[in-house]
């Protein structure tokens, strides 16, 4: 039983570390802020969550200690990281960070059509 739970928590921790690693590769490789944000906000969320879950299971099964703070940590990461991703995205857009040149569509441009300060967005072309 202890061996099985050690294996499971070891697997979860390894998976979390690999996911975080690949998310950071994504931040390096992808072309613009917006696509990088995809990698960072999704990969890191599940990565950190499975790391914490592995730690929780290890302490529960091997040490017999129920650590509720780790569970709360999982819940907080799960709730806050999509919001953080959204806010970074929005802040980037509103400060006119250009989209990648191969981006094809931008419906948000129409929303800001009445506002001359926000329409002059560099390097975005509509289809």
């Amino acid at each position: 039983m202890i061996e099985i739970s050690k294996a499971i928590s070891g697997y979860l921790i390894l998976q979390g570390a690999v996911l975080c690693f690949i998310a950071s590769i994504g931040v390096l490789r992808l072309p613009d802020v917006y696509t990088r944000n995809h990698a960072a906000s999704k990969g890191a969320t599940l990565g950190v969550m499975s790391l914490l879950l592995g730690v929780f299971l290890y302490f529960l099964m091997v040490e017999g200690h129920f650590n509720s703070r780790v569970l709360l940590g999982i819940a907080f990461v799960f709730l806050t990281s999509p919001v953080a991703g959204h806010l970074i995205m929005r802040a980037a857009y509103n400060t006119k960070v250009p989209l990648w040149e191969n981006s094809v569509q931008n419906d948000l441009k129409k929303k800001n059509a009445g506002d001359p300060e926000r329409t002059s967005h560099p390097r975005i072309r509509d289809k």
């Binding site: 996911l19 690949i22 998310a23 590769i25 994504g26 490789r29 992808l30 072309p31 613009d32 917006y34 696509t35 944000n37 995809h38 990698a39 906000s41 999704k42 990969g43 969320t45 599940l46 969550m49 799960f78 709730l79 999509p82 919001v83 991703g85 959204h86 995205m89 929005r90 857009y93 989209l99 990648w100 191969n102 981006s103 094809v104 569509q105 931008n106 419906d107 948000l108 129409k110 929303k111």
Partner: protein, 158 residues
């Protein structure tokens, strides 16, 4: 709905007082008993039987977890593919949801969906602007949001 939960807790306390034993197991038994009573009396409440809402919350949570895992797999595929050959873009999505918390839940769900991330919400709260990793999937993503997420969220708030 909150009224029904409160009533259920109240019945559980009544049960504890009737039994004259104040333990968690008696409370749980009273709670189940109260659930049965509320189920029988469900036609006298203005809202529906609240346990259905609890089930809907559970469904929504499973959708969250499932989408999170699928999103990660698709992001992994994009990152580890040798050439980045997608066409990102921003598309608009008209939502039918009205309340603020529903829109928040929807945008959290969209952010955790494969290949989509919310950029902005229009001032009248009717349109979400979503950045998609691959704009060719936008139509499919739109359909999935409409059929699966909005329905699940509506089910919770009904």
């Amino acid at each position: 709905m909150a009224f029904q939960v409160l009533l259920n807790v109240f019945i559980a306390f009544m049960w504890m007082f009737l039994q004259n034993s104040y333990t968690l197991s008696v409370f749980a038994a009273g709670f189940l008993f109260g659930l049965l009573i509320i189920f029988i009396m469900r036609r006298s409440f203005s809202s529906r039987f609240y346990f259905l809402n609890v089930l809907a919350v559970f469904t929504l949570f499973t959708i969250f977890i499932k989408e999170l895992i699928l999103a990660n797999l698709s992001v992994l595929k994009v990152i580890l593919s040798p050439v980045f050959s997608h066409t990102p873009g921003i598309f608009a999505y008209e939502t039918e949801l009205k309340k603020d918390w529903e829109i928040t839940m929807l945008s959290n769900l969209i952010t955790l969906t494969p290949g989509t991330l919310v950029v902005d919400i229009s001032d009248d709260k009717k349109t979400l602007y979503i950045h998609a990793m691959d704009i060719n999937d936008a139509e499919e993503a739109r359909k999935e949001i409409r059929d699966s997420f909005e329905k699940a969220i509506k089910e919770v708030s009904r």
